[in-house]
């Protein structure tokens, strides 16, 4: 039999002015199981708490009810007091007779009656409480960052800076990501390589950071604090430890016509290559699809000339298994495929390019050495048309493009227009826009300068059709403000392609059990208040994998994700909320309904041996809740058809008891 103590707070006059506390004491002391009921001016004060502690000890209370302010105010206070007196803190219930009674009602008699009912409900509930022990989870003090672009690099640097070890997994042969392909960055126009490459070097030299380049995540298991990850390190056919990055092999290799992905196919590279001059790690990689030695066993030139003896044709993929406490997704984005946008002649003319290609054309390390020459005939374009929102802001039913605004295009197009006009003042530059969106520090000022000082023609309207005709791009577009249809003979057309999450994101999200939105961006735990965490505990988000972002925003989010990781890793043990779901294995029918409704993937199924009433044993499939992962929402408890699932702290019986007490 429970021995329950009830403590009624006056809260000065906050409660006592509207609720007759002594009447409440009288009424509640008559409740079954109640062995003492007292009132006091301030229960939360030190003396009030002492009173509770003494009563717990003296009266050997098994549960207490505090009729006071909201549990959101002082539940923690009273739980601590109970624990100090040797009572399990989860044997405490609060009846909210201030915010939800004395403060909202005026008539003393009815308010008193309601306070009594609320007290009864709390007593009914506490009688069914069970002592709960918050579980403890050890934390592996190492983080994994998936993706080695600016987001991943910054997150890793910040985590390492706090003294924790961190690994970066990058699928390409070098870290650097999309930012390494950019020429200048808006709105300050510093060169992307100049600000990025020092960070790449810093990451490679930091002893806390380990970089797995040319690698991908293969399998993830475990949960917050205790992930086990398998990483596939793809064979690069070059010994990373021996290769000095001298580049001799990349010059002598006889296979020269491989489209260079770093320059988006606008020039070619050899079958053995280093993606770009400042690559990290600066190690050659052999492209197995093109290498003659790997394809037909004939050649071997690179092996002969390599002074370091680093070439290894027999290298195989390697699987590495590591343990991590936290995982950061920083998988970034890429421009969408423009195959379906041939009204802009994208697949018909080499001179219709994407903005990322334009970055490479303007870049000193690009295919043209930084001279703006158009791809078809290497001539200077005299008239350039920029088209905004290609594939962004499209209605879903249109079945081409994305519904969202890609956010970065307005600014990089302004930058492209400015750089073009600055370097080549004799070039006519047209920008067709729907809206110019520049909400960022110094962004609109930048855009206005482009329009006002650089003589770029900003035209409100959209290009409707482009015909490639004898080296000229006939652009037909609307000028909505002039109410005219324009016909421009352009030499180069640059399409601001929408960006979408990297294609590797969806399979990765499945491995991480992290949720995604319909566009394959990772979902954050709370859209406003927890923007860098996934709803899955221990998974954090950095950069464009969560939504389109420019560089400053990406870096800010990278730092925020790092600080969340640090906050997790600096704990030796995690205290888990004990109010989690649990399964009554005897009633569980193994239907998987709970598994499907759980937003945290906290429910798994196991095959378990049971002793049957007839003394035989039987293997049954039953649900098992991982208390470290469960957040205690209770979705499964309601979904469970056999009512095997229940929630500690808010069990079905407890809530029935509360309902009964209220309706008595």
């Amino acid at each position: 039999m429970q021995r329950i103590g009830v403590f009624i707070c006056h809260c000065g006059s906050n409660i006592a002015a509207t609720v007759d506390t002594s009447a409440v004491v009288n009424a509640l002391s008559a409740e079954p199981g109640v062995v003492c009921a007292v009132d006091y001016p301030y229960m939360c004060s030190a003396s009030g708490q002492d009173m509770i502690k003494e009563a717990i000890k003296e009266k050997e209370l098994t549960g207490i009810v505090i009729c006071s302010c909201s549990p959101r105010m002082h539940e923690a206070t009273f739980r601590k007091a109970a624990a100090a007196a040797g009572l399990n803190p989860y044997m405490v219930e609060i009846a909210n007779i201030r915010e939800q009674c004395s403060w909202v009602h005026k008539d003393k008699q009815t308010a008193t009656e309601k306070a009594i009912v609320l007290g009864r409900a709390a007593i009914a509930k506490v009688s069914l409480n069970t002592p709960l022990q918050p579980g403890e989870i050890p934390v592996t003090k190492r983080a994994l960052v998936i993706g080695g672009g600016i987001a991943g690099i910054q997150t890793a640097l910040d985590i390492a800076d706090a003294g924790f070890e961190v690994d970066i997994v990058e699928k390409k042969p070098t870290i650097g990501g999309k930012m390494a392909q950019l020429d200048k960055t808006f709105p300050t126009l510093d060169c992307a390589a100049c600000i990025l490459t020092p960070k790449m070097v810093e990451a490679s030299q930091n002893e806390k950071i380990r970089i797995y380049s040319y690698s991908k995540v293969e399998e993830v298991s475990g949960f917050v604090g205790n992930f086990t990850v398998k990483i596939r390190k793809k064979a690069r056919f070059v010994d990373e430890n021996k290769c000095t990055g001298c580049g001799l092999c990349t010059e002598k290799c006889p296979v020269k016509n491989v489209p260079n992905e770093f320059n988006l196919g606008m020039d070619s590279r050899h079958a053995v290559y280093i993606p770009f001059a400042q690559a990290v790690p600066k190690v050659a990689v052999i492209d197995a699809d093109y290498c003659r030695m790997l394809k037909d066993g004939k050649c071997g030139l690179c092996s002969k000339i390599c002074g370091a003896g680093a070439i290894k044709y027999d290298q195989e993929d390697e699987i590495i298994e590591n343990k991590y406490g936290a995982i950061v997704a920083a998988t970034g984005c890429e421009p969408i495929d423009l195959d379906k946008f041939d009204e802009f002649a994208y697949s018909k003319s080499k001179d219709v390019i994407t903005s990322l290609q334009f970055e490479r054309l303007m870049n000193a390390a690009g295919p043209t050495g930084g001279v703006l020459l158009r791809p078809s005939d290497n001539k200077h374009p005299k008239t350039i048309v920029f088209v905004q929102c290609v594939g962004s802001r499209c209605e879903a039913h249109a079945k081409k493009g994305k519904e969202y605004c890609s956010k970065i295009c307005c600014m990089y197009t302004a930058k492209h227009a400015m750089l073009t006009r600055e370097k080549y003042p004799d070039t006519d530059v047209y920008v067709f826009y729907i809206d110019v969106r520049t909400p960022g520090k110094n962004f609109d000022e930048f855009y206005r300068r482009v329009a006002e000082e650089y003589g770029v023609h900003y035209i409100k309207g959209m290009v409707g059709k482009i015909c490639a005709e004898n080296g000229t791009l006939k652009v037909q577009a609307s000028d909505l403000l002039a109410d005219k249809q324009l016909h421009i003979d352009a030499d180069l057309v640059v399409l601001a392609a929408a960006i979408e999450p990297d294609r590797s994101t969806r399979p990765l999200a499945t491995m991480l059990t992290a949720s995604m939105d319909t566009n394959d961006f990772f979902t954050e735990a709370h859209p406003k208040l927890r923007p860098v965490e996934s709803p899955t505990a221990g998974i954090f988000l950095s950069g464009c994998c969560q939504g389109p972002k420019d560089i400053p925003e990406t870096v800010a989010q990278a730092g925020a994700a790092a600080s969340k990781v640090i906050g997790l890793l600096c704990k030796d043990r995690l205290t888990a909320n004990p109010c989690v779901a649990h399964c009554d294995e005897m009633s569980c029918n193994g239907c998987s309904t709970c598994e499907n409704v759980c937003p945290y993937h906290a429910v798994t199924y196991i095959e378990k041996e049971f002793r049957m009433p007839d003394r035989t044993t039987k293997i049954r499939r039953v649900a098992q809740v991982n208390p470290a992962v469960c957040q205690g929402c209770g979705a499964c408890t309601v979904a469970c058809p056999s009512k095997a699932m229940d929630l500690y702290g808010f069990s079905g019986k407890q809530i029935y008891a509360e309902v009964d007490a209220i309706c008595r």
């Binding site: 909210n96 915010e99 859209p527 702290g649 808010f650 009964d660």
Partner: protein
């Protein structure tokens, strides 16, 4: 025999993160609402089992209110979507059983919407009062 005029009794389930906090805010702002409503705290509106509501009607409640975070703002991401679907089904079944649909209600109340909570309770209480006592599912054997 004289029948005592019974005050309508309303049970309200409020999720811990949004609506319970919204109800607290109504208190902080001293917004008056009828004392008929008694709040039961649940972690999430998706913890509200349809049987809780049936139980309340069986034990003599005249109306049941369920409050959760706004869709898209659920602390547990998707809990309130489950609630919305479950309650839609339950309420239509209840209506079939003769529990007027005005006696049940799902309302999204955020932690900042103290005024909305008070207004919801006012409206809901008025609506339930207008219907009078609920006798449909009430099981008198449960009464002392």
């Amino acid at each position: 025999m004289q029948i005592e005029e019974k005050k309508p009794l309303i049970a309200a389930f409020c999720c811990n993160w949004c609506s319970y906090a919204g109800a607290d805010l109504a208190g902080n702002n001293r917004l008056n609402y009828p004392d008929n409503v008694k709040i039961i705290r649940v972690p999430c509106s998706c913890r509200v089992d349809p049987t809780f509501i049936l139980r309340a009607f069986q034990r003599g409640a005249d109306g049941v209110l369920i409050c959760g975070c706004h869709p898209g703002d659920c602390h547990y991401t998707t809990g309130n979507y489950y609630t919305r679907r479950r309650m839609t089904l339950l309420f239509s079944m209840l209506e079939y059983l003769g529990i007027e649909k005005e006696r049940t209600r799902v309302e999204w109340v955020s932690a900042a919407e103290g005024a909305k909570f008070a207004q919801t309770v006012n409206e809901f209480t008025a609506a339930v009062s207008a219907l009078g006592e609920n006798r449909r599912l009430e099981d008198l054997r449960c009464k002392e």
